[in-house]
Symmetry: C2
Subunit: 338 residues, 2 copies
Amino acid sequence: MGSSSNHLKRPTIHDVAREAGVSKSTVSRVLNNRGYASPETIARVEEAVADLNYIPQASARGLVSQQTNTVGFAVNDLSSLFMPPLLSSIESTIRTAGYKMLIATVGHQAESASDLPLGPHNTDGLVAFADAYSNRQIIQFCEQGYPVVLLHRSPPAGVECPCVNIENTSSTRALINHLIRVHHKRRIVFLRGPKDQQDSLEREEGYRQALEENDLAVDPALIAVGGFNADIAEQATHELLDASVPFDAVFAGDDEAAVGVIRALRDRSLSVPEDVAVVGFDDDYRAADIDPALTTVSVPFDEIGEEAAQALISYIEHGHITSKVVSTEVVVRRSCGC
Amino acid sequence: MGSSSNHLKRPTIHDVAREAGVSKSTVSRVLNNRGYASPETIARVEEAVADLNYIPQASARGLVSQQTNTVGFAVNDLSSLFMPPLLSSIESTIRTAGYKMLIATVGHQAESASDLPLGPHNTDGLVAFADAYSNRQIIQFCEQGYPVVLLHRSPPAGVECPCVNIENTSSTRALINHLIRVHHKRRIVFLRGPKDQQDSLEREEGYRQALEENDLAVDPALIAVGGFNADIAEQATHELLDASVPFDAVFAGDDEAAVGVIRALRDRSLSVPEDVAVVGFDDDYRAADIDPALTTVSVPFDEIGEEAAQALISYIEHGHITSKVVSTEVVVRRSCGC
DNA sequence: CTGAAAGCGCTAACAG
DNA sequence: CTGTTAGCGCTTTCAG
C-alpha cells in the first residue's frame, strides 16, 4: 500500500530546527508557545516553518501527548434528513474548540472490539447517536473514563454519562390533543419508529397519554411500524388500508414517515387532511414545503448538536458531566386540517 | 486540558505481550498477521488481547507506519440537503476499504497552513468538495504527491488530479428546451449559484445554449443570483417582481433555490406553474413531495460519493488517477406545467 | 518461529 | 532563554 508516484518527504521538526539554526525543542516551544523564546528566535523559526511549509504530524503529537484532538461522532445512518443541521452544528462547535471530527456509521454489530470504529484508541471522546453503540459498549467506555455524550438516548442503568435528549412525550401529547380537540379525530394511527428507540417509545407514551386524557381507548389495531422511514410507512399505510382498519388521522412518528403516509393515502385517492389528517415530528427541511404543509413538532437540531458538542468538550477538558433535555414545540400547518 | 476524573490507563502492546508470555514483536505480528506464528502462540495472544480489551493506539501506529488510515472530506457547508447521500456513500465506501473519515468544513480563508484542517499531516488523502480548497492549495497538494480527489470541480490548470463531476450543461439545455418547446415559455429567468462555482457556470452555459438553439436572446435582466439557497432565491424573485421584469418561467439553479422561488411567487399570489413555471436541479429529498412537484434534473449523489471515494482509495493505494463525469437526467413533474 | 533493538516525529523535564 | 536527553506505543529489520 501507499505507493503513489512522487512522495516528496514532508519536512519534520528537525528540518525546521536546522533551517532556523535552533534545536527541536525550541521549535516545539514556539509552535506551541509554551515557555519563553526571544523575539528573534521566534521570527527565525516562523520563517523556517513558512519556508518549508511545515505542519506538525498529528500522530507524532498524539503519541507523545496522549491526546488526539479529535472527537468522534457515531451514528447508525448518515442519510437521515436531520443530519445536516446536526452535523453542521457539531462540527462547527468542536472545530471552534480546536478539535477535528471523525465520523463513523456504526452497525451495532461490528463490535469485535478489535475493530471498534471510534473509541479511546483514536479519539478523545465521542458523541453517540441513539443506538449506535450498545449498552455494553457504553458502560465499558464509562468505566474506562472515556468521555461519551449520548444523543437521543439516556444512559444505561447504573452509569453516569452526559446526554442530550429532546422533549418527546409532552409535545406529542399536545400534537395528538390538537387532532382530537380541534379536529375531532377519534381513530388516530400511531406509527412506531425503529425497535426500542427511545424517541419512539416516548412519542408512543405521549400518544397514549393524549388518548387517555380524552377518554379514548388505545386500539392496538391502530398501532403499526413506520420505522421513521418513508418507504416503510408507505407500506404500513397500505396494509392498514388493505385490512380495512378505519382511521381518520395518522401520527407518523416522524416527518420522514409522514411523507410516506401521504404518498400511500394519495395513491388510494384519499385526501389529506380532509379524509385523513397526517402529522409528523421533527419539522425537517421539507415539512413546510410539501403538499399539504405538514403539521409537526419542531426540533432544534442545530441547538441539539451544539449542546452535545459542548457537553463533550466540557467533559473532555474539565470532567464536567452535564445533561440536557431540549424543548420542542408543535407547529401547526395544513396537514392536520387547519 | 485532558483532566477527566478516573482515567484507567489503557493497556499497551507491552501489557498484552506480558500477559501472553511473548514479546511485543510477536504480538504485533499476530495482530497484523504478518510473518508466521505458531497456532498456540496466536491463540495465547488473542486471548490476552480479549482479556485486556486491547486496541492498538492509532497515533502510535500512524507514527511508525507513516499512514493514518484516515481520509478527509472537505466541504464548504455541511448543511446542504444533498450531503446526506453524499456523506453516506463516501463513508461506507471508505469504511469498506478500511479507512476512517475525518470531516471538516473549510472556509477557504483559514489557510494559514499552520492550521490546515485536513492535509498530509493527518490524513492519507482527501476528497475536496467544490471550492472548499483554493487552487493554490490544491496545486500544492498535487506537487507534494498528496492524494486529492476533486468533487464538483475540475483541477486548476497545469495539475493532474482525479475528479468526479456531474453533467450540467446538456441536462440543463434539455431542461430549458422542455420549458421552451413544450410549454412555450419565452422569458426564462436563470438564478446563478455561488460565485465562480463550476456547476453554476456550466448550468448557465446550458441555459444559454438552449436559448440560442431556439433563437431566443439572452436578456441580462433575466439573470440574477439565487446562490443555490432558498432565502437568497426568494429575495431575488421578489426583486425581479418589484422591478416589474416580465418572465414566465424560472430555472432556479438548484432545488433549494427553487423552493425559495416558489415561496416568493406564492407570496405575490402568482400560481406555479400556471403563471410562472419553476424548475430546479438536483432532485433532492423533497423535490417530489413539494407543491407543486418539482421538475428538475436528478443527480445520483450516492453514486458520485462512491466514485469519489473509490477514486481516492485507488489513488492512495495504487497511484491510479481516474476521473469521471456522472450523467444526470431531466425529471419531469408538475412545476414546469406538465 | 520468536525476541532484541532501533527508531518513526514530537514534547517535556531538566540543566545550563 | 535554549539545548540535551528521554521516551510516548508501535512496527520492523535482524539475529537466533
